[in-house]
Symmetry: C2
Subunit: 153 residues, 2 copies
DNA sequence: CGCTAGTTGCAACAGAGTCTCAATTATGAT
DNA sequence: ATCATAATTGAGACTCTGTTGCAACTAGCG
């Protein structure tokens, strides 16, 4: 949708500029479905002939996150992925240790419990991350013999 | 406690050896209260005159985790911390973005909900991580002016 | 005691992300 | 439309965590 305008608005509100690179970045982010990481994105941009540097990507992704367009998902140890949030609901993730698949789940109850916990400790929550690790249906059924499931990454 | 014996047992069960370094490591891990990271530990060991190398630390912490003596807490991007689990209950963390304090919380309800969610998606859970980010009581009350709260790290 | 597999330290390496700096450019003011 | 200025960019050096190869060392079984 008018994601670009929305981002433009965010930028001007923060005294930032709408550059060619940022435009390309949004374009491509919008066209990905599912989760992606920095290298995915970099590859796409390059392939499309938009030579956005790694530094620029790293500098701008936090802006996209901040503007609410995308969401960052921290996987284990330095494995950050992003996903489009355009009009989506907040949700958390299950990560398959076998094949890397990411499943999503929503849980209003957990959100509610978090609020209660925070109130009890007088903690002002600004965000959370909640991941469940394990094996997806197909990886689990391949058998519990370790290493027999799909190659990881 | 007989933490050392417990670890020794774990080691022999896995064909591993109880070395001087591992003994020193456990000693020091047991003496820390609260959360610690690799450099904390390294510093303590050095100060105590036990020259354990960084590599050895990195090689052995996973063993301690695996044996159930300690627990690893993944903070944002390459900020791993550990905590003693000796006879403690599972719990999750609230991390103050102002001063870095870590508060703990337990929530059997969340655990239960996770199980339900997993069953629904036929996902075999092996673990989870659940962090709440925000500001602790004192940092929150310092005012929302950014940067005014305690130094981080 | 002696063997052998496990262990250690060192230093080189690897991956992810940040920073510096000179050159470029979007944008508000004129 | 032109200018002035602050933001932005790319390239590469750098940092921070953590890992790995290798030769020397050592725990622990027999």
């Amino acid at each position: 949708m008018q994601a670009i305008e929305r981002f433009a608005q965010y930028l001007s509100k923060h005294g930032l500029k709408m550059t060619r690179e940022r435009r390309a970045l949004i374009d491509h982010v919008l066209s990905v479905r599912g989760h992606f990481d920095v290298d995915d994105l970099l590859g796409r941009l390059r392939k499309a002939g938009h030579g956005v540097s790694r530094a620029t990507l790293y500098r701008n992704l936090p802006r996209l996150v901040d503007s609410g367009l995308i969401h960052k998902v921290e996987m284990a140890r330095g494995q950050a992925r992003y996903e489009l949030m355009l009009g989506r609901h907040h949700h958390d993730h299950m990560i398959c240790l076998g094949c890397g698949t990411i499943l999503e789940f929503e849980s209003p109850e957990v959100e509610r419990i978090q609020e209660v916990v925070c109130r009890r400790k007088k903690f002002v929550m600004t965000g959370h991350s909640h991941q469940i690790r394990g094996y997806c249906e197909s990886c689990a059924s391949v058998g519990s013999s370790p290493g027999s499931a799909g190659r990881r990454r």
